[in-house]
């Protein structure tokens, strides 16, 4: 990562935005803080390849201005607890030890004691944030079987390190999030994910996991070409169709089958876990969770509010 080109950009306009979501799919109502654009981890399936058209990394260093934008977003919301994340256009932690961008934002959330900040990553490096971590910062890791990490996420931290970092975050008083995203279908994936979930349950306290997301691999059409050109057999192992939002997704029947499997395995470990589907159709939600109440994004936002109340109290 030392050879990475890092550009600083003056912050113009808003970098605190609503997660763009995707048509015909239930979105969790996340707010994104695009502190960093671009990622050095270069995962083979990364959607950023389809969205960002310049190599290298661009950072916004106007911390005061960014915090002002977050404050404005919080002030304009009086119904829901806002959840912010810095991992939409980058990995939240991959360059943070070097660039130290998260610290002031983490402190701000700790002082605000209301909205939540989620640092979502595949890079197990939180030591530099130890002094400022607080319960209003959720440390989250994307998790996948180690074989998949070796093949498709080659520059990321091994799963054992991610689990250790999650444990460390819990020990520091943080709640943590788990993201099984993207879940990839390949020969033997069922067994690998079962072992992974076993490992997670052994390693961390599942009762202090605030949320778990499940999202099967989906990608924009330009990535299909890239996968074929690069001969990504594992990524293309399953059957993809063009969904209503134009993205390639696994066939719905397959998605439901896999979600059900993972959902059941996770709840078997801890029945109280809050498991949500990232960018899925309402009918898939219903088939997987049996919860008819999630018909649109607002319904999922309400479930998040309930979950946050469970963890932080309040009415």
């Amino acid at each position: 990562m030392n050879s990475l080109t890092v550009r600083q950009r003056e912050t113009r306009g808003s970098i605190v935005r609503d997660c763009p979501g995707t048509r015909h799919h239930v979105c969790c109502g996340y707010k994104t803080i695009d502190l960093v654009e671009g990622c050095p981890l270069a995962c083979s399936y990364c959607m950023l390849k389809g969205y960002l058209n310049s190599p290298g990394i661009t950072v916004h260093r106007d911390t005061a201005g960014i915090i002002e934008q977050i404050e404005r977003a919080v002030a304009s919301e009086n119904e829901h607890v806002l959840r912010f994340g810095t991992g939409e256009l980058s990995d939240s932690l991959a360059v943070d030890r070097r660039l130290r961008l998260n610290g002031p934002i983490v402190r701000f959330f700790g002082e605000a004691r209301g909205p939540l900040l989620e640092l979502k990553s595949k890079w197990a490096s939180i030591d530099h944030l130890k002094s400022c971590l607080n319960p209003y910062t959720i440390i989250s890791f994307s998790l996948a079987p180690q074989g998949l990490v070796d093949a498709e996420e080659r520059r990321t931290s091994p799963i054992s390190k991610r689990l250790k970092a999650l444990k460390a975050a819990q020990d520091l008083g943080c709640f943590v999030g788990l993201h099984f995203d993207p879940v990839i279908i390949y020969d033997g994936f069922e067994r690998d994910y079962r072992y992974l979930i076993d490992d997670i349950a052994r390693f961390i306290d599942l009762k202090r996991v605030i949320w778990v997301s499940l999202g099967l691999l989906r990608f924009v059409p330009s990535l299909m070409k890239a996968f074929i050109r690069e001969g990504r057999r594992t990524l293309l192992n399953g059957e993809f169709i063009r969904a209503e939002d134009g993205k390639y997704r696994y066939l719905k029947a397959e998605r439901i089958k896999v979600y059900r499997m993972l959902y059941a395995q996770l709840l078997e470990k801890e029945p109280g876990l809050f498991v949500y589907l990232c960018m899925e159709r309402a009918d898939v939600w219903q088939q997987v969770t049996g919860r008819p109440e999630v018909r649109q994004s607002a319904d999922l936002v309400r479930l998040f509010d309930l979950r946050i109340r469970e963890f932080y109290g309040g009415s």
Partner: protein, 304 residues
Amino acid sequence: MNTIGIDQVDVSDRTYCISYPLEDDLLFSSIARFGILVPLGVLDREPPVIVTGFKRIEAARRLGIATMPCFFLDIDDRQALLTSISDNLKRPLNTIEKACCVERMEARGFPKEDVYEIARLVGLPARVETLKTARAMNSMDQSTRALVARQNLPLPVVEQLLWFDAQELARIVRLVDSFRSTTSFVREVLHLFALLKTKTGCIDFHELENAEDMEALRQSLKRATHPLLSRLEDRLEKIREASALPPHIRVQVDPVFEKEAIDIQVRASSVAEVEEALKKLEALSRQGVFGSMFELTHGTPERN
């Protein structure tokens, strides 16, 4: 203006030839009727080198015309290439010809900005990948070049062709070329070939080569790349067959089984026809036809 005999020029010298293919029926008919009206552009060398008019000279040869009007040009190699490109820009170029323009310019060391400018002029994306593809196209075999030109396949589709090795490509071209088809159909079939190769590591041509038409080829490929989707399609087809829907009732199901809703359309021109259609729909519903369809669109076919 001068006159030159065909036997005075080396017609196999294609140094400045952008046109592909050289056979042009319309031009042939015109020359047969009116003769060569537009003179060739020829470099004043010994032997003279054709710069513009390759299609005309080809037609003339076929017609047995011995001499042609020409202009002798006193220009250098780069100017000759630009003259040829400029002459061809008067008509729409196919992808082989477009690629040829940028490949020849790049090979002669024109500045990248100039090459990209021509790329833009002919409608190719001005980027490094275009140059790479254009170079690769230059070494494509004749049958592949002919397919690209005949189907006027756009650059992204040509890029797909380049994913295959020479042997695979030859068999694919032979297969695709043996059927009449639209560009979008060819594009889809090539995508399925590429997907199949990525998924399985190789393409088993034996079954594919038995396909009777392009649709059959597409179906065979799809069965190999999308077996589950094909099974769902088969089940839907069986349900449709069993339900024996009358022609004035149409039931549309999302072809990729993503949308859970199905569309039911009734065509009626009287109240009696509406009532008859409703009765039929009710009967079909009682038979479980729609329930079976919903199992497919809900993504839960295993419950059947």
